[in-house]
Symmetry: C2
Subunit: 222 residues, 2 copies
Amino acid sequence: MAEQKATNVTWHDGEVSRDDRYRLLRQKGATIWFTGLSGSGKSTIAVALETALFNKSKMSYRLDGDNVRLGINKNLGFSEADRTENIRRIGEIAKLFGDAGVISLSSFISPYKADRNEVRRLHDAANLPFVEVHVDCSLATAEKRDPKGLYKKARAGEIKNFTGIDDPYEAPENPEIHLRTDQMTLQQEVEIIIEYLKKHEIIGARHYTRANDAPQPVAAAR
Amino acid sequence: MAEQKATNVTWHDGEVSRDDRYRLLRQKGATIWFTGLSGSGKSTIAVALETALFNKSKMSYRLDGDNVRLGINKNLGFSEADRTENIRRIGEIAKLFGDAGVISLSSFISPYKADRNEVRRLHDAANLPFVEVHVDCSLATAEKRDPKGLYKKARAGEIKNFTGIDDPYEAPENPEIHLRTDQMTLQQEVEIIIEYLKKHEIIGARHYTRANDAPQPVAAAR
């Protein structure tokens, strides 16, 4: 857990609440956290889910291991400390998106249980839904797919600390959703997640979708 | 500029484009970057602007120096290097929100020109609007307001490296918007920004607000 260094900081309340944003977007903010081996199918599912949500006029945004690595986390490498800081920062960003009312789709290997649990704790403390999705397939299957040729490099010793080869993957024990990507179609996987989001009223809740239920204006303080 | 440490990373294209998100939200993403002394009025304007945008059914989200400091940047202090990293990370987060289609409202002292210009460069490279708003008032006025009692502590030597006292504030030379908060009402300030957003078609652009212009569905790749 990162130490709080800055002092003289306090939380500023605004006039527009999280619930106001939820009403505007007609959905609740949430974090869908995909975890699994490289090649397990995290990004593929995230892209398909993003499309499915968009076609329901729901607002989602993908945070991708690769594109975040090229931006905010470009100053982090793959040491254990840097991986932990990587996941911590992404968890904090996901939390901001959730507070904004957006459904963020995070697809990172995120191999360490403690790091994922810290992200869960952040969300629990902020009263935001955290949906851990274990994108599961055997190492043999992932290695056979090897869409980026990374397993081959790792086996050749060209990449060190590669999850599944010379670094552990700690599977979730009680994920909200467990997808066996070697036994399901992509469409089934997306439907399972959509059903979860409906069941938990993140999308489709009656009071967020009622026709003509325009957001009520918020009064300015002055 | 932070060094790119991670290798083997590439950008993942999705099926839902930034323009799709803009159509869904009926606005463009953008970063409104408030800069100015502590007590100049940054947070007050951001809160009022957020309310005004919400009442136009526009989606904004405030990134606040204080609340970001309690989250993603909790492991940063107030040294020059940490301040630079603080602003860099916030700039990257603002960029993500802009790409998502959200208008982010960042209110940070952000005293160093080079740091702000780096955030501007990030936005230019990503083809996202960066609206620098200089929230300007004299040091005497800011110190007289002293809403958090910080100038008093800085004058007493209890806070070191305090902008305006023993650390410089480098004013923007060509900000998109310059607000003299000791000469304007809050309502005037908000109207100036709203007019800017309309003029640059971030909000109110005809093709984003036409009635019954429902977002077109996006085809899934498979």
